[in-house]
Assembly symmetry: C2
Homo-oligomer: 325 residues x 2
């Protein structure tokens, strides 16, 4: 590895001058600063990138906070982020947090400590207030509905998507509607619950707490969902299932139990996963890949000084009509 002395020799300056450049000291002539930077470039065959990052002040790395990698919801988002990162010559620092607060703070501190240039938060446990305190250290982009914040966000509004899906079911004659949620108190879950209550009240329907099932996830959760449905005395006639893999698992279990879809139970899935296409499941396209790529672009533009202040961007969803309603 080229050390500071070799750089000084190659640049024809003193070691102290190299130190000053490395530490962004103001009293260095422009010509000497350039000479040092060029020497480092020239010696790149053995340069330590940590030294280069000290000089440039950027790492060409974006952090991504997500609870879990191996889940279609998040892996679609990462796909979108990774695609744009590749095109922009950026690396991704992937931080699987399992919704652990300490892990989320650790990543925020990576931003403060200049180990990453910006941060994309796919989902979080930490409060917005806590996160906003890190705004001065670099761009932070959240993937959830957000207004009046110092943080940026790109999202699809889950209030509106639930509202639209309920209207669609209502118009098709399904008035007894239930739904699934993975987390009780996530920002997206709270908006979905609110939309459920508001929309059914507005339509003259009956929101019912016993028609909400929590904590089921993935295709493997479908059997639990079917069991829950079969055990109820008063059953809903339609379900919003927040994840096409869970909807697919339910559909398969429903068939195995002799239920007809949509005659006995209509379903709308979410996220437009490939399995929904294969099994002809009506779904809401939540555009996860695009949310990921837009989140990267917003962070990238802010790193490069193209935006002052937070950016808020809402993508519109679409309902894909297939055979389960």
């Amino acid at each position: 590895m080229a050390n500071i002395k070799q750089i000084a020799e190659a640049a024809g300056v003193s070691v102290a001058t190299v130190s000053r450049v490395l530490n962004h000291h103001p009293y260095v002539s422009e010509s000497k600063r350039r000479a040092v930077e060029e020497a480092i470039e020239r010696l790149q065959y053995s340069r330590n990138m940590n030294a280069v990052h000290l000089i440039k002040g950027i790492t060409q790395t974006i952090g991504v906070v997500l609870p879990q990698i191996n889940h279609p919801y998040f892996s679609q988002m990462i796909e979108g982020i990774a695609h744009r990162a590749l095109e922009c010559n950026y690396q991704l620092m992937l931080c699987q947090t399992n919704y652990n607060l300490d892990e989320e703070l650790k990543v925020l501190n990576m931003l403060r400590n200049k180990q990453i240039d910006g941060l994309i938060v796919c989902s979080r446990s930490i409060s917005l207030n806590q996160m906003e305190a890190y705004t001065p250290y670099g761009p932070i982009v959240l993937c959830e509905t957000l207004h009046n914040s110092t943080l940026s966000s790109v999202y699809l509004d889950h209030y509106t998507s639930f509202q639209k899906a309920i209207h669609y079911l209502w118009d098709k004659g399904y008035h007894d509607i239930g739904f699934t949620l993975y987390r009780h108190n996530s920002s997206n879950s709270l908006r979905r619950k609110q939309a459920y209550t508001d929309t059914l009240h507005a339509l003259g329907g009956q929101p019912r707490k016993e028609w909400i099932l929590m904590n089921q996830i993935g295709i493997g959760g479908g059997a639990n969902l079917a069991k829950w449905f079969l055990q109820m005395n008063e059953k809903p006639s339609a379900l919003l299932i927040t994840g096409d893999d869970l909807a697919a698992g339910f559909l398969i279990a429903a068939h195995q139990n002799g239920l007809r879809v949509p005659e006995d139970i209509a379903i709308i899935g979410f996220d437009n996963q490939p399995i929904a296409d294969v099994l002809n499941i009506t779904t809401i396209d939540t555009r996860l890949q695009e949310i990921g790529s837009r989140a990267f672009d917003i962070a990238y533009q802010q790193i490069n000084g193209e935006h002052e202040g937070p950016v808020t961007e809402e993508l519109s969803f679409r309902l894909i009509e297939r055979g389960t309603v």
Copy 2:
């Protein structure tokens, strides 16, 4: 950010001494080195991690090379890697390469440039020779069968798994066997092709090139696989399908086309994905999460000096008997 001058003041040494410590200069007394390191720790509220990494010589970051994130095969592996990384307080630098050689080289150079402490290669395009040249810069762990290399590896042997699956089909009376491959020339694909030919020859069967289908992937590829199968005049009686999601897509398309499984066509999937359980698909458990976590552990132990030289570790697969054979 604490600059070199502040560190020097806090440590009670000269700026030149801090420089020497930062650059691993040999002529620094142990007490002064410790004073500088302690000053940096004390000033951590504003330290630049790139400076800390210069001092410590480690980044607590592992690079992961993989062609694609949003695919069950790789996301299961990442899950295993990420789980152990979280436990060991390591970050993951995720490099989605799309099998692009330049991207793979870029990550290898991150290892040389000390931006990462070690590297896990889930799948690659680059030659082993090219990769071995990077061995001096840090641990590199591949997830494929490897012998007599300076690189480490952890793998499940796909020659043996194909051999075992073919024997299983043969014993059940299926002698006309085909299979799918995603990539033509990957190390795993070459081993699978060899096992197919060798095993059928040994059994007195007939390996047939027209019974190999390339380039299909994911549940969406199942319809193409079914179409290919239906169009053949002489059809195999069984298929090894390298990916349970692809096998699931095939199973669904087969049912839609009035084919009975296993009566008209028996199938064995790979990877023991949740969808194989839900659809009762016979599969080979390729233990991808464990491969990921073991790969991390090997790299981690080498970073911490617990191993000299390359480590080779083979995991054993198991065949899970279900309803499609």
